[in-house]
Point group: C2
Chain length 152, copies 2
């Protein structure tokens, strides 16, 4: 029982950082969530497991996790940020202007764009955020049909 069986701790050590219960918790909440949480929602979730965790720690941890490449920040139309744990392949987002729903999708075309730009401009592309917006199928139907509920 003396082996370092803790991958996450190793990752933090490699980055010269300490792994605290709060950090582990925040990352867990993000990894288990299928939504794009904002800081406050994340804080609420985390408080279920650690009622004393502070919002400041949430923000500080998000910054750390982002720096370590474990978490991504998104600006999805709202005035504040949303976060999600980084998964295997990249993916992109569509936000419905009517109901706020977010659809995730992937496409090899973005890799092509990166390639094109790298060659054309001599840049090295690290990150790619594609954010489409418009109206989802349901919201289109709602609009076309008649009039009724208006949410924002």
């Amino acid at each position: 029982m003396s082996e370092s069986n803790d991958r996450l701790r190793d990752v933090f050590r490699a980055a010269g950082r300490r792994l605290t219960p709060q950090r582990r918790l925040i990352l867990e909440v993000l990894e288990e969530s299928d939504e794009h949480l904002d800081a406050e929602a994340l804080h609420d979730q985390a408080k279920i497991h650690d009622p004393d965790i502070s919002l400041a720690t949430v923000y500080r941890t998000l910054a750390v996790l982002k720096e370590m490449g474990l978490v991504e920040e998104h600006h999805l139309g709202e005035d504040h940020s949303h976060y999600e744990a980084v998964r295997d392949g990249p993916h992109y987002h569509f936000t419905c202007l009517g109901c706020g729903k977010v659809i995730e999708f992937d496409t090899p075309l973005i890799a092509q764009v990166k390639q094109e730009l790298s060659e054309r401009e001599g840049v090295r592309v690290i990150g790619a955020h594609l954010h489409l917006s418009g109206y989802c199928a349901q919201c289109q139907a709602k609009k076309a049909g008649g009039q009724g509920s208006n949410e924002e």
Copy 2:
């Protein structure tokens, strides 16, 4: 000389809004700038021509112009928004993480992505923001020269 020779005023009237000197000025500043200005920089520019224009009016006008499709808002890595006048064709952005330089580019591939997604998900895509980040040619050179960082 009695013709309504004022296109912009017509656009505003058609939108049921009033064209004020402040609004005209703000749009002019944006159209004449080749940068992606934030609200404060825009305010500073505008104050050169109208020292009394308020920051609140800048924000309010940006909202109006955005709604009218004359201006676009961008989140370019910074924690605040940047704005630019909408031009003919769409274009996308690359930000250098080293020096902050923004490179604009276009590619037909994004239209393909929009098409793909529309068909696959039945959504109607209105807007598309692609934001790449990484290091520009100069910043790569700077990095390679100084330290022993070796990659790819």
